[in-house]
Symmetry: C2
Subunit: 416 residues, 2 copies
C-alpha cells in the first residue's frame, strides 16, 4: 500500500481499503456489503461498493445492473487535429479503467506539489460504488477527422416527432460518456476528471445528473418508480438475458460497420414532466393514462407488476399499450433512465422529469418507430414534453489494457 | 397492514415493511442496516434506513447526523390571507410528520379513484432514509400577516459582502424547508409533496439539490470532501455536544423573541466553484489556499485531520486560518453544506460548487463577521463566487401531534 492510500490518521483506513486499495480487497468487501444492502435495493444481486470490470466484449454500463445515480455528459470536440483526439481517447480510457476500479486517475493520486493534482480528490476514500463509464460517438463527429466513410447509416440525427420542444443546447454532441454509480460523488468525480483531462481538445456541451433510477435490468426485481409515481418499463431486458441482448441490444457483425460490432446505439431524451398538472389529476385518470395500477404496477385488469399486458383491458391511448413490443414487431429496447430535478423554472414549477436512456441494436427498429407511435397517440403527452435529444453509437468493449475507446473506429481502413 | 401496504405481488414486501409499515418495524430494520453500512458511511452511528423522530424540543435536521442528500426549497407566500397560511402550516406539519416516519402523505396512500392521489407515489416502497424536514421563516414574511412586531432584530437580509455576485432569483424567500435524507428520491418526494399541498398559498421561489454532504456532525468521523477535493469545516459542532449546541446554535429564551426560543438561524449561500481554474492549480497552491493537506485533511504543519490549527504554520490568507473560531471570539457555527452540480453553463463549465448551510444562535456573531473577514482576505476567493443568499429563522421543534410549524409565531401576543 502506497503512502497516498493511508488514512487520515496515518494508518490504513477501512474506507481506503474499500475504495483505493487493490481490486481483490474491493471485491471482497463489496460482496459482504451486498447481502446487507439487498433489503433496500431493487437490484438485489448488485454489490453497491464493488468495482464493475472495465474490460470485456461489451462496454459496462449497459447490461450491468442499473446503479442508483447518473452523471451523463455530451462533449464537443474542439480540436481540429485527429492526432490530439486519439491521444485524448487513450488518456480517457486509461483514466476510466483506473476510476472504475476505485483508483485515483494518476498512480500517485495527487502527484507532485508543483503540478496540478493528477486527480481532483473529491472521491478520495470512497468505494468504487459500481462506477461504469460508457463511451459513445455522435453523428456530428463523422463530418470531420476523416471519419466520413465510417458513419453507420443508422447513426443520423433522430427525426422530429410531433410535440418535440427540443432545446439545441440540451442535445447532440460529438462524444458522450455515461457515468453510473451507486454514489453520485463518484459519478460526478469521473465526468469532472474526464472533462479536466480533455481540456483543450473537448468541452462539455451539456450534462445531466440523474438522482434516481427508473429502470431495473435484474430479473424479477421491482421496477423503481418514476416521478409520476408509476412503475414504467417493467418488461425491460435483463442483464443476463444473453439471447435477448444479442437480438435487441448488441450490433451484430452483419449489421456493420465492422468497428461497431458488439456495440450498441444509445438514445438519450430529456423528458420534462408537468409535475404540477399531473399531481392535480385523479388517480383513475393517471392509471388510465399509463394502463397500469399505481399501487402495484400491474397492467390494467391484472394483479401483479409482471403479469402480461392485456391491450384490450386498457384505453387505445394508454402508454403501456402503445409502447409494448408486441405492437412493434417484437423489437425491444434496454432502458436505463433516471429521474432528474434541476431546480425550479421561472414560473416556480419544478424542472423535473425523466432522462430517458435506451440501448438498442438499431434505432430505426428500436426507439424511432415506438416514439412515432407514442408522439401521435400517447395519453401521456398531455403531461410531458421532450426537451432534449441525442443519439450515439456505442463502440464495443475495451478488450484489455492496450485497447482504447474508439480504437476500432480510428484504425478502420477507409472504405474502397 | 392495510391494502395499500401490500407488495407488488399481493403479499407484504420487505420494502413495504421497511418503509411504509409501523414505526417499530422501521426502527428495528434500520438498526440492523446501520452496522452493515457503517463501513462506507462517515456518520457511523447513523442508521440509513431508519426514521428520525419528528417531534422534539428542537427541529430535526440540525443536530441530526448529516444525511447524504439534500433538497432545499424556498417559498414565496402567494396568499394574502393569514388564515390560509395557518391552515397550510398545519397541513404541512401533518404531512411532514407522516413522511419523515416513512408513510405516504394521506392515510390511504393514494386515496379515492375520483380524486388526485393524496401522495404522488414516487417514494412508495422506499425506506424513510432518515428524512428530516426543517422549516424556517425569512425576513420578508414579517412585512405582512400582522407579523411586523414579531421579527427578531437578527432576522434582516444579510449585508452585502465584497465579491458577492448574488442572483436575486436564487435568494430570499418567505419560508424554507430543508429536506435531508440518505435517498434523494425521498428528499425530492417530500419537497414536491409540500409544494403540491401548498398550491394556491405558496409557490417555490428557488430550490437546490445537493448530491453529496460536505460536513459531518458526528464526533471523530472523517469530514467528507468538497468539490475542491478538500476536507473543510473539520471542527464542526457534533450533534451530541449539548453545551456547544446551547451556546452556539439554539436561540436561548433570553435572546428573544419568545416564539424563537429553542430555534436557530440558518444561513444559506450558493457558492459556485470555478472548478476548471482550480483543477489547473498546483497541489501546493491548493494546500496553501486552504491551509490543509489535501491527502489527509491535516492543518498545515500537522499530521492528522483533527489536530489543532496552527495559524502561524499557514499563510495569512489561508481559508482555515481566517475562518477558525479562535479568530472570531470563539463563536462557532454548525455546518450542513452539500456539493451541487447543476449541469453546465453557457461556456461549457460545470455549474458546480457548495451549497453552504450553517445554523447558529445569532448571525450577527456567527456567519456575518466570519464572512466579512473571508470576503476581504480569503485566498479561496479567486476560485469561488457567492451567487445565492438567504437567511431564515428556524422555529423550535414541533412538540407533539397538536403542535404545528410556526404555531408560537402565529399565536404570539402582539407587542402593543
Amino acid at each position: 500500500m502506497s503512502a497516498e492510500e493511508q488514512g487520515a490518521h496515518g494508518r490504513p483506513s477501512r474506507r481506503n481499503l474499500l475504495g483505493w486499495g487493490g481490486a481483490g480487497l474491493v471485491l471482497g468487501a463489496g460482496a459482504g456489503a451486498a447481502t446487507a444492502l439487498a433489503l433496500d435495493d431493487g437490484d438485489a444481486k448488485a454489490a453497491p461498493a464493488a468495482a464493475v470490470p472495465f474490460h470485456g466484449a461489451h462496454q459496462a454500463g449497459i447490461a450491468t445492473p442499473v446503479q442508483d445515480r447518473l452523471h451523463f455528459a455530451a462533449f464537443d470536440v474542439t480540436t481540429s487535429e485527429r492526432a490530439d483526439l486519439v491521444v485524448l481517447l487513450k488518456e480517457w480510457t486509461k483514466a476510466a479503467a483506473r476510476m472504475t476500479a476505485g483508483h485515483a486517475v494518476g498512480e500517485g493520486a495527487f502527484g507532485a506539489d508543483e503540478a496540478p493534482p493528477d486527480d481532483t480528490g473529491e472521491a478520495y476514500g470512497l468505494s468504487p460504488a459500481r462506477l461504469t463509464l460508457t463511451f459513445g460517438v455522435g453523428p456530428s463527429l463523422f463530418t470531420r477527422f476523416g471519419l466520413e466513410d465510417q458513419r453507420p447509416d443508422a447513426l443520423e440525427e433522430l427525426p422530429s416527432f410531433p410535440g418535440d420542444h427540443l432545446d439545441k443546447a440540451r442535445g447532440g454532441g460529438d462524444l458522450c460518456v455515461q457515468a453510473c454509480a451507486d454514489d453520485p460523488q463518484v459519478a460526478v468525480h469521473a465526468i469532472r476528471n474526464l472533462a479536466r483531462i480533455g481540456f483543450g481538445s473537448v468541452a462539455i456541451r451539456w450534462s445531466q445528473l440523474g438522482f434516481g433510477k427508473t429502470s431495473s435490468t435484474t430479473p424479477g426485481a421491482e421496477t423503481p418508480r418514476n416521478l409520476f409515481g408509476f412503475k414504467d418499463g417493467t418488461n425491460n431486458i435483463a442483464g443476463g438475458e444473453t439471447a435477448a441482448l444479442d437480438q435487441h441490444v448488441w450490433v451484430p457483425e452483419k449489421d456493420g460497420p465492422a468497428w461497431l460490432a458488439g456495440g450498441s446505439y444509445l438514445v438519450a431524451r430529456r423528458i420534462r414532466m408537468n409535475i404540477e398538472v399531473w399531481d392535480r389529476t385523479s388517480l383513475r385518470e393517471q392509471e388510465d393514462v399509463f394502463g397500469r395500477t399505481k399501487r402495484t404496477g400491474a397492467p390494467a385488469g391484472k394483479l401483479a407488476e409482471h403479469d402480461p399486458v392485456s391491450p384490450r383491458a386498457m384505453l387505445p391511448t394508454a402508454h403501456v399499450r402503445l409502447a409494448r413490443p408486441a405492437a412493434h414487431g417484437g423489437h425491444r429496447i434496454l432502458r436505463r433512465g433516471y429521474s432528474f430535478t434541476d431546480g425550479t423554472d421561472g414560473l416556480g414549477r419544478l424542472d423535473a422529469g425523466l432522462f430517458f436512456l435506451a440501448y438498442q441494436r438499431d434505432p430505426r427498429t428500436g426507439f424511432i418507430p415506438v416514439q412515432r407511435e407514442l408522439a401521435r397517440h400517447d395519453a401521456l403527452n398531455e403531461y410531458i414534453q421532450h426537451v432534449g435529444s441525442a443519439l450515439f453509437a456505442i463502440p464495443p468493449g475495451v478488450r484489455d489494457a492496450h485497447d482504447w475507446w474508439g480504437r476500432a473506429l480510428f484504425t478502420a481502413p477507409a472504405k474502397d
